[in-house]
């Protein structure tokens, strides 16, 4: 039994009774690192928390895997998992929005682009949210905003710190203004958390753009990024087309964000647990 399969059975004890599917781990025993193309042996990769041992590239992982490697014993209780998007605008491009959701659900095993849960971090009870990038690019529609607010409100009512792993292409076009307003809705909920004197640790995962970057991701009491994560308001291509300049290689990467004062620190995946636990320990009094 390898490291992850040992954790998987404990994943997804449902708060609201829905059945959770296992998080998908890349199939097959061998993978290529997307950065250095080194051939990686799956069991080794799991041990290294999906960080390439050759070049230190942090590979993308699904929301549930993320929670499993972050929380004590990989245990968490998911809530809000039944909420599903509706096609309020009756949006249709080359496919209907319903079809796109259906495809995303079957590709990821999740009902939406965010997973919300409670769990323990080094013994501290916390509320945690993680975006699922494979679900329509982690885009934020009404349900993502609603689940995020539910999580924040739960942190307030249970007096627990809140941690969110953000990774998202931004707003969800298919919900237009409903999507845009989630930026204000999530920001408003975080103000309530602030009033309740509870810490919010925002952890930025490659990539975050647009509406998620310009709302909940940037509003952490402490903003942390994984190494090499791309985080920005406008995408590199949009900027290149608008201003016609060559952008530096590290443009919008974690290191660039740190240099320009947007984040507090860059923390490698293997140190996230200890770092976040230490920060919460200083900010949060369990009274």
């Amino acid at each position: 039994m390898n490291w992850l399969t040992r954790l998987i059975p404990s994943i997804g004890k449902e708060g609201d009774g829905a059945k959770t599917k296992k998080s998908k781990v890349p199939d097959g025993l061998w993978n290529n690192c997307p950065a250095c193309e080194a051939i990686l042996y799956q069991p080794e990769l799991e041990k290294s928390l999906f960080v390439c041992p050759k070049c230190d590239h942090h590979l993308r992982v699904g929301a549930k895997t993320r929670l499993a490697i972050f929380l004590d014993n990989g245990d968490f209780e998911e809530f809000g998992s039944k909420l599903k998007a509706k096609n309020i605008l009756n949006f249709k491009d080359t496919k209907t929005y319903e079809q796109r959701i259906k495809d995303a659900v079957s590709a990821t095993g999740e009902n939406e682009a965010i997973v919300t849960a409670s769990g323990k971090l080094r013994g501290i009870d916390i509320i945690v949210a993680a975006f699922e990038f494979r679900f329509l690019g982690g885009s934020m529609g009404g349900v993502v905003g609603t689940k995020f607010v539910l999580a924040v409100e739960r942190a307030i009512s249970e007096h627990k710190p809140f941690v969110c792993f953000s990774t998202s292409g931004g707003a969800r076009m298919q919900e237009s203004m409903i999507s845009l307003m989630q930026m204000a809705k999530t920001a408003a909920a975080l103000e309530k958390l602030k009033e309740a004197k509870l810490p919010y640790i925002s952890i930025m995962i490659d990539p975050i753009y647009g509406g998620v970057s310009a709302s909940l991701a940037m509003l952490g009491d402490i903003n942390i990024a994984e190494p090499g994560a791309l985080v920005g308001f406008a995408g590199r291509r949009v900027i290149e087309q608008t201003v016609r300049v060559d952008l530096p290689d590290n443009f919008q990467k974690s290191e660039f964000l740190l240099e320009h004062g947007a984040i507090d620190m860059i923390v490698p995946r293997a140190q996230l647990r200890s770092t976040v636990a230490r920060l919460i320990g200083k900010l949060y009094k369990n009274s």
């Binding site: 309020i88 605008l89 949006f91 249709k92 491009d93 080359t94 529609g141 009404g142 349900v143 905003g145 609603t146 607010v149 707003a171 969800r172 076009m173 298919q174 919900e175 237009s176 203004m177 409903i178 999507s179 845009l180 307003m181 989630q182 930026m183 204000a184 809705k185 920001a187 408003a188 975080l190 103000e191 309530k192 647009g210 509406g211 970057s213 310009a214 709302s215 909940l216 991701a217 940037m218 509003l219 985080v231 920005g232 308001f233 406008a234 949009v238 900027i239 608008t242 201003v243 300049v245 952008l247 443009f251 919008q252 320009h260 004062g261 947007a262």
Partner: protein, 314 residues
């Protein structure tokens, strides 16, 4: 003037050209004067007809009309004693957002809004109404100032979006917008938001969280510009008209899903035909909204503002 007509307004331009020609030739000729009058009433009828059934894409064009009234046109028509306030106190003054103190019906208020500029040099100075982080930070400073002195805030939205550039990224465009959303959601004073032209994305919402959201009859508001949405979803910006339809960007659609509270009727033929009439319609809307919001305690106001946000998409 006729080069300021949109494609679907051409029949109107033709009639107006005829009227101009007849006026030049009439020299007090009674029969010609009669013909002018009948052409004028024909133009009016046709104008009403065209504007009563604009497609969503046509509305996008009206919202972006080169003569669309801007905040600079409304300030002298709606307010007295405007004192413009400049700068974010950190980096610069961003001219794409105008802000300042003024009197509205003898009450001091804080005004903040996008200004696109009209002549080329002014457009450049205003960066076409696309703000950098310092624009949003100036707005934030003015919101906080308004809160301290219990002044109602009135914002005017008209932007294609926040400016996508290198400097903006370096100075924290995302953070600037996010902070405004957070602060506006809890600002202890009434906020009236008026979408006058183009409500584009986070750059619009960054001054758009409030208690009463009004939108002009032919204004638009969407998560991304139709061109941007088209290039993301259809992979081609040429599908912008499809994207505008699909995103339901018009005032008439937005009121159905509870994004806006009120549609402010425009003069026949659009706001650009009569700035004074448009301003008087805005004034009426503002008076109604302010008197309604003034009846609420601060706690009620903030709870109402929070609940309206929670309802959207839940």
């Amino acid at each position: 003037m006729s080069n300021q007509f949109l494609e679907f307004e051409k029949p109107l331009a033709d009639i107006l050209d005829k009227i101009d020609a007849l006026r030049g030739a009439s020299m007090g000729d009674v029969s010609l004067l009669k013909e002018i009058q009948s052409l004028e009433s024909e133009e009016e009828k046709l104008r009403k007809k065209i504007f009563s059934k604009l497609s969503i894409w046509q509305k996008v064009q009206v919202a972006r009309h080169p003569k669309r009234p801007h905040i600079s046109d409304f300030i002298p028509r709606l307010f007295n004693d405007f004192d413009e306030l400049h700068g974010d106190r950190q980096f610069a003054d961003d001219a794409s957002i105008i802000g300042g103190l003024a009197s509205f019906e003898d009450i001091p208020v804080m005004i903040v809004g996008h200004e696109k500029g009209r002549e080329t040099s002014e457009k450049v100075k205003r960066n076409f109404g696309m703000a950098q982080p310092e624009g949003y930070r100036k707005a934030k400073r003015l919101f906080k100032l308004a809160e301290r002195f219990s002044l109602p805030v009135i914002t005017f939205i008209d932007t294609a979006g926040a400016y996508p550039g290198v400097e903006g990224e370096e100075r924290g465009q995302s953070e600037a917008i996010a902070q405004n959303l957070a602060i506006m959601s809890q600002l202890k004073t009434p906020i009236i938001v008026i979408v006058t032209g183009e409500g584009g994305s986070g750059g619009a919402l960054a001054i758009g969280v409030g208690d009463h959201i009004a939108i002009f009859e032919h204004a638009i508001y969407s998560v991304a510009s139709p061109e941007a949405c088209a290039s993301i979803v259809w992979r081609s910006s040429e599908n912008a008209p499809d994207a505008a339809e699909a995103m339901k960007v018009s005032a008439q659609e937005l009121i159905k899903i509870g994004i806006v509270d009120e549609i402010i009727t425009e003069p026949s033929g659009g706001a650009h035909r009569d700035y004074d009439e448009m301003a008087s319609l805005v004034k009426k809307s503002m008076i109604d909204a302010l008197s309604k919001l003034n009846q609420l305690s601060t706690e009620e106001l903030l709870e109402r503002r929070y609940q309206r946000l929670l309802r959207i998409g839940s």
